[in-house]
């Protein structure tokens, strides 16, 4: 074996890789935005009076959570054109991430809404707070505080999952890495470095989320 590791190819490709990071973050952000919309709508439908609507939401959540993302994105890749949506791979990836993240968001948001007790709302009114104040301080803030850790964790998970979108050649970090790999044949060096780029992304996200949480959601100590 005469293989010598050569990381210079990675260094030369760094601008492309950093743009790939931007692609990954935009993909995850777009997917998470869609996921939140699906999540809120799903929670409303999940607790609606119409039985068929509840059944659809429950079915959707169970199917998404019990099948691999790779199979989901392949299915959508072929299914979306049939319903008239001829999209590029990146848009398809956003929809796939949004649907996948949405199923998890429904469960998370539902838990948050249920965590606010009715008695607290009544106590708020008894203390003389008006409707807007009750919603803001007693419902919204504690609910957000309760779901914030799971929701931000879900965002990081979605960012990591987005690497699978390279299978339909959406523009993100892993597909950039695959292109560099096929140009240079330095598979190990490229993927090893890209793994640490992902690690940097998730650590930065974690740090950012912790700062936000400390700033907005910490309990008043005085």
């Amino acid at each position: 074996m005469g293989y010598k590791l050569d990381f210079s190819v990675v260094w030369h490709a760094m601008p492309a890789l950093l743009w790939g990071c931007v692609g990954t973050l935009s993909l995850a952000l777009a997917g998470m935005t869609l996921a939140m919309v699906i999540g809120v709508a799903g929670v409303a439908a999940r607790d609606s009076k119409a039985g068929w609507l509840r059944a659809i939401v429950i079915g959707f959540v169970e199917i998404v959570r019990n099948t691999p993302f790779l199979v989901q994105i392949f299915f959508l890749f072929f299914a979306l054109p049939l319903i008239g949506l001829k999209l590029n791979p990146t848009a398809t990836a956003i929809i796939a991430l949004g649907l996948n993240g949405g199923a998890y968001a429904i469960e998370i948001i539902r838990g948050g809404v249920q965590s606010v007790h009715k008695g607290q709302v009544e106590a708020g009114y008894a203390l003389g707070l008006h409707k807007g104040q009750v919603f803001r301080f007693i419902v919204l803030k504690p609910a957000l505080r309760a779901i914030y850790p799971s929701l931000t964790g879900q965002f990081i998970m979605l960012t990591l999952t987005s690497s699978i979108c390279s299978a339909v050649s959406a523009y993100e970090l892993t597909s950039v890495a695959q292109r560099i790999e096929s140009d240079t044949f330095r598979s190990f060096e490229v993927y090893f470095s890209v793994t640490f780029l992902y690690l940097a992304i998730s650590w930065l996200l974690m740090l950012g989320f912790a700062v936000i949480s400390h700033r907005f959601f910490s309990y008043p100590t005085r």
Partner: protein
């Protein structure tokens, strides 16, 4: 002549399913063994050892499974060992499982009330007996829902072996889809197979979680 999706194609998917199950079982068994070691090291009380295992777990939790698989797959190729594709991906999933199960069991070990350990110490039990007879039996009970949850993750995760070319269920689906030009039907069937595998486990896990929560209320 394009073949239609029929019994032979379905049989091919079933053989893919067999490899998915086998890959999951091997990775889960390996991951349990290594994960137990990680969990014990993570809670052993030596600051430096705990730090190292914490970084190990952090690396696997903070990077995509697909990239971990690529690194192990191409990294093993560099060592000059001629490994079967199955062995290479099985090693990849095993190291991933060791980190995730290690973290789950770390949490479970620390969730066992401290008084239990102290009482065991007061009785003069040494470390291995304390862990084996007092802490672990309780920790396993606590960790079971999360462990089953990870098993579902693992089954779904093995689909990524398709991207490095190992023929398990997802890759078998791709092949059949390319042959028959019936992607919706094929990936529908593939998805249903994963669902049949995962859903009972998910249901079992959440039921157990509910029962544990109920037991803790009393």
């Amino acid at each position: 002549m394009v073949p239609h999706f029929g019994l032979p194609e379905f049989g091919f998917l079933l053989r893919g399913l067999q490899w998915t199950v086998l890959l999951t079982l091997v990775a889960f068994a390996g991951g349990c063994t290594a994960g137990l070691a990680i969990a014990l090291l993570r809670t052993c009380g030596h600051k430096r050892v705990e730090w190292i295992t914490r970084i190990y777990i952090g690396i696997f939790q903070g990077t995509p499974l697909l990239l971990q698989l690529f690194v192990v797959y191409y990294g093993l190729a560099l060592t000059g060992l001629k490994l079967d594709a199955f062995v290479a991906v099985a090693i990849g999933f095993t190291v991933n499982a060791s980190a995730f199960l290690g973290e789950i069991w770390r949490g479970a070990i620390q969730a066992v009330p401290r008084g239990q350990t102290e009482a065991a110490m007061a009785l003069g039990l040494h470390y291995s007996s304390r862990m084996r007879d007092i802490v672990m039996p309780q920790a396993i009970r606590i960790s079971l829902p999360a462990t089953i949850g990870y098993l579902v993750q693992l089954i779904k995760g093995t689909s990524l072996a398709a991207i490095v070319g190992f023929i398990e269920l997802a890759r078998a689906g791709q092949i059949v889809s390319n042959q028959t030009f019936q992607p919706l039907l094929v990936f529908g069937v593939v998805g249903a197979m994963y669902f049949v595998l995962c859903w009972p486990l998910s249901w079992w896990g959440s039921r157990m979680e509910a029962r544990l929560a109920l037991a803790n209320q009393r």
